[in-house]
Symmetry: C2
Subunit: 333 residues, 2 copies
């Protein structure tokens, strides 16, 4: 097909033409002034806006509640069990509010994340949820899309944007302090080098506070394979730490596999505490003690933050809790 | 907001009004007759169709290629690792064709699958992918939505609908025959009772052909928990089978957990072959031998079947292959 046959954006002129008014009148209606517009004319303009699906940036916030019943979710990779569970929880919370959820992976090889965001916004979505780490440029773009946007699971508040997250640093401290409680003094961390990870900071602070030496720090990717490779490196170094805080459940499962291959027992030789609280780590052996992110509450709050921004604080940070299993050395229920 | 403020469907009358023509002329243009329409008028009507996003059922097929760059995917539950990997492969294949993928879970508690399908279709999608088992009523609905639709991973061809799947029965035979090759004669099956599962048939036929007695048949849900519960029932029955074909990787992982708790060793006491070929079963212990569905090829073919229906046979069934690990009793690489 020729390029020209693709849908073009609806403009203010289209709305004016459809409603049979001037573009200025369209502006008066959408901006609620400066000039007054007769009720019937106003209704005709709003009808045109709805029929055409016109969404001006400035008026988007005001219109979104009535106009759009679809929300967009940008997620890094839906295969990661944590994000899979997050997507599902957000889908359920959206369904509770009669909204459809458009899930988009941001790891598309062919398309930049900025293009993905622009594309989502052009689809008349009523709100945007982002569970993916953004670059500064992408952040700037998101700040200007003109529809309610909520960042999910970021390390702290992102300037100018609403957010729902957990206290990653406190969660990591919880995990490390549990390992310290077992009497371990050589506690390593396996996490991501992608950007300053608050879990790494929490690990570091907990060791400092307990006057313990800082254990080995290993950076890897967030995947089974990443956890496996980090584990192989620890094995190959010939100097295994007594305990490890893993930054994600997937990393912990990959690590378990590498330690098993290397002949190290968990928890007898190496104890593990993980981060996320997905279902999968209850079905490996030993089952993994993990810092749980309260996904349902986070999802419910994120959807509320998008649909009723005024009913939720601009940034909501949930506490985590520990789900105790056997990988840390506990004899769990 | 009042109900009336939600967007209403665009009608032929809206197109006529916007283009400044009669509704009859709109029909002539969209149906290419019976009366001729002047080129400039035709262009004005098509412009109105595009701007308004009008999509009449009859003209949908013809318009979809040029008009829509979004595909809809109905999936049962995106948390199941197999469906998570399928979603991701379909997303990548969509990105290759510059299409966005709208992923929708069909296990929403608040909304029926029929409503989900109607909702997807109303969103100007250019094609519909369904990776979820449908009732007869839902199938009838899908047959009449008027946009290219492809069923993914069904047990055989669905009347009147295009499909991409694997030969489940042959795959199950492959798994059972591998277990028979190990010398096991007491081979159970754990699968779903939801509807006639071709894997169950393949298991049954392979045992019949080998003149072996039919082992225990256990029905459960497709989840970790389902596999775990089926395993507990086998343990509690006091009579463990020598080998099991599990209908999904998730079931196999849950089964592993139950057997471990029950003191049964895998593969020494109970050998397992699974179905799906997800990444996760390479990160449990023992690693699970599994019948692999060629996900990338299936995804690529499904997207092609939706976008260029004439370039792909109406029903494409891929062969599976075995990924040999340790759970079956092999000493694998």
């Amino acid at each position: 097909m020729a390029e020209g046959s693709r849908p073009r954006s609806v403009t203010r002129a289209d709305v004016a033409r459809y409603a049979g008014v001037s573009t200025a009148v369209v502006s008066y209606v959408l901006n609620d002034g400066p000039k007054a517009v007769a009720p019937l004319t106003k209704e005709r303009v709003l009808d045109a806006v709805r029929v055409l699906g016109y969404r001006p940036n400035l008026a988007a916030r005001a219109l979104s509640k009535g106009q759009a019943d679809m929300l967009g979710l940008l997620v890094n990779d839906n295969r990661n069990p944590f994000f899979a569970e997050l997507c599902h929880a957000l889908d359920q919370a959206s369904a509770d509010r009669a909204r459809q959820l458009l899930i988009v992976n941001s790891d598309r090889l062919q398309v930049s994340t900025s293009e993905q965001i622009r594309d989502l916004v052009s689809r008349q979505i009523g709100g945007l949820l982002i569970a993916s780490v953004l670059t500064a440029g992408e952040q700037a773009l998101v700040e200007h899309v003109g529809i309610p946007t909520v960042m999910i699971g970021q390390f702290g508040e992102v300037d100018g944007l609403a957010g729902v997250s957990v206290d990653f640093a406190a969660g990591a401290r919880l995990g490390v302090e549990h390992l310290i409680g077992h009497g371990y003094t050589d506690i390593a961390f396996i996490g991501s080098a992608a950007r300053s990870d608050a879990r790494e900071r929490g690990w570091h602070e907990a060791l400092t506070d307990a006057r313990l030496p800082h254990g080995v720090l290993t950076h890897t990717t967030f995947s089974y394979q990443g956890g496996y490779e980090a584990g192989r490196r620890l094995i190959d170094s010939g100097r295994l730490p007594r305990a490890v805080l893993a930054a994600s459940d997937q990393i912990a499962v990959g690590l378990l596999t590498a330690l098993r291959e290397g002949g190290a027992r968990v928890p007898e030789d190496v104890a593990i505490v993980s981060f996320d609280g997905t279902t999968a780590v209850d079905y490996v052996w030993p089952r993994v003690t993990t810092v749980v992110q309260p996904l349902e509450q986070m999802a419910e709050t994120a959807i509320r933050a998008v649909l009723e921004p005024d009913s939720v604080p601009r940034y909501v940070e949930f506490a985590t809790h520990l789900r105790v299993r056997e990988s840390c050395g506990c004899t769990a229920s």
